[in-house]
């Protein structure tokens, strides 16, 4: 029983990271109808920036906040420079854009900080939480930061005018323009926020997976699995999907013999395919209905 509880709690902790990644993916998907394959690399690059700041002597939380701000601005810049001109381009052009962005960011990080694996600090420590063997303080910190982030986002989207405007622009862009919302800037704002959310995921997961240019590859695939499971049209679904995938991954790795660490990733992919076959809209997503 203790093993089970332990695995579930650890699953919730990594699930928090998947939830952030899934949320970032869903936010951009809502804004521009494309999957951002470079979301993980953007998060990785942001994590490197925070690491660099700490190397220069900035304390952890200072680096954390500066990185969030830089990510927000960087996300907006990427949208303005690369994806705004592609807004009316075919799907494949956009996919090519995302893959290019992926390669550019990945190689730049390698060029600047090289490919060796680096230690990344945690502000929470890694001792057992309150003397319990079930969960470490860092895992608890991951869950705590994610919950705070989700609450903040909920209030932002539910109770602020700009949050309302962003939701309107994502759901019916034409009507949003007709009430006076600058939908183009709402998309850019969505990019900025998604990039900042992704960078939180990167900074939280870096102490676990260690810092290197390919650190987010696996995490992003789990994030996609979470987004697909919860439904690409539903932020709430993405978050729920993230926690479910985290728990699922751990339980399968523990209880199904032969799965172990090597087979965990294919399981995420298998999950994506199963959901797409059985329930394409995901758990919380609404099926897309078009009048013809």
């Amino acid at each position: 029983m203790e093993l089970f509880t332990n695995q579930v709690l650890a699953g919730i902790a990594t699930g928090a990271i998947y939830a952030c990644m899934a949320l970032a993916v869903v936010m951009i998907y809502q804004a521009i109808d494309h999957l951002n394959f470079a979301q993980g690399e953007m998060a990785m690059f942001a994590t490197f920036i925070s690491w660099q700041l700490m190397q220069w002597g900035v304390p952890y939380w200072g680096a954390f906040v500066i990185t969030l701000a830089l990510s927000f601005v960087g996300g907006i810049a990427i949208e303005r420079i690369l994806f705004k001109p592609l807004a009316k381009a075919p799907v494949l052009t956009n996919v090519a854009g995302f893959i290019a962005l992926f390669a550019i960011i990945n190689s730049s990080a390698g060029l600047i900080w090289d490919f060796t694996i680096k230690q990344y600090p945690t502000p929470f420590g890694s001792a057992p939480l309150l003397g319990s063997q079930l969960i470490s303080t860092h895992q608890a910190g991951m869950i705590g930061v994610t919950v705070l982030l989700l609450l903040g986002l909920y209030f932002f989207f539910q109770y602020t005018r700009i949050g309302l405007a962003m939701r309107a622009a994502a759901s019916v862009p034409e009507s949003a323009r007709l009430v006076g919302i600058n939908t183009s800037w709402m998309v850019a704002l969505g990019w900025g926020m998604a990039t900042a959310i992704g960078s939180i995921a990167g900074m939280l997961v870096a102490p676990v997976v260690f810092l290197e240019p390919n650190m987010m590859g696996g995490v992003l695939i789990y994030g996609f699995a979470a987004a697909v499971l919860g439904g690409l049209s539903s932020p709430l679904g993405a978050v729920t999907g993230g926690f479910l995938v985290g728990i699922f991954e751990n339980l399968v790795g523990t209880y199904i013999p032969g799965v172990g660490n090597e087979l965990k990733l294919p399981i995420a992919l298998a999950l994506i395919i199963s959901v797409l076959v059985v329930k394409p809209a995901g758990l919380f997503g609404r099926p897309i209905v078009k009048r013809v």
Partner: protein, 237 residues
């Protein structure tokens, strides 16, 4: 009476296809004007051109200021509220959020709150359903919501694109009654595009008839309604 909207030699294009061929008309402050015509005549395109949602050339002046080259979201800020065809409801949001969105360009919070109450007085059914998702409303209720959303801007001019579309005759009567009241009491000028010519002519004081992207007839709504020849050849009743 002063001219609020002046459209001169308007030409509009969808890709290579020209939809409006030099259309001119004007609308007086405080008036309720209707634009009539058959399917494909260019009624919707005219409204979309006013809000710069379709490529067009020609002069569009609102209260003496040119609207050309202004973006759709900035044209709203002149006080022009457009209720598009199909109502443009934010279906996944609540009724109250839809109303708040109508006022998203305004900064006076107290005014917005009191205007929402005013809309509930105009349309009591919206108050009953204010926490409900707008997509769950009936067609008539959604049209009321669309009109209320437009009024939340406190517009000087309201553009309505076929408000009667898909609604039961009784609901249409009700809605047109409210439009007339808004026009008289709230001093909102209204330009309404309609296929239901008979009803629109009863409501409006000024009317234009368009055919294949040109104005072919204009005058007082009463005169056009009483002219059997026009009715038969253009309006089909």
């Amino acid at each position: 009476m002063t001219t609020l909207l002046n459209v001169k030699d308007l030409r509009a294009y969808y890709g290579q296809v020209q939809a409006l061929h030099g259309l001119s008309f004007s609308l007086n402050e405080g008036s309720l004007t209707t634009l009539l015509g058959a399917n494909g005549a260019g009624k919707t395109t005219t409204l979309r051109a006013i809000c710069n949602m379709v490529r067009s050339t020609g002069g569009i002046e609102f209260d003496g200021k040119p609207l050309n080259n202004k973006s759709t979201e900035n044209i709203v800020r002149f006080g022009i509220a457009h209720v598009p065809q199909g109502r443009g409801t934010f279906t996944t949001m609540t009724v109250e959020e839809n109303l708040q969105l109508g006022a998203i360009t305004r900064k006076d919070n107290a005014g917005i709150i009191s205007d929402i109450e005013r809309m509930y007085a105009h349309f009591p059914v919206l108050k009953q359903r204010h926490t409900q998702q707008a997509g769950t409303l009936s067609g008539g209720e959604q049209q009321m919501l669309a009109v209320a959303r437009a009024l939340m801007l406190r517009p000087r001019l309201m553009l309505l694109d076929e408000p009667s579309f898909g609604l039961a005759p009784l609901v249409v009567r009700d809605l047109f009654g409210i439009l007339g009241k808004i026009n008289r009491e709230d001093k909102v000028s209204i330009l309404v595009v309609e296929q239901n010519a008979q009803l629109a002519l009863e409501l409006a004081d000024q009317a234009y008839v368009i055919e294949t992207g040109r104005i072919v007839m204009s005058g007082k709504a009463k005169d056009i309604a009483n002219n059997e020849e026009i009715r038969k050849s253009y309006l089909g009743y």
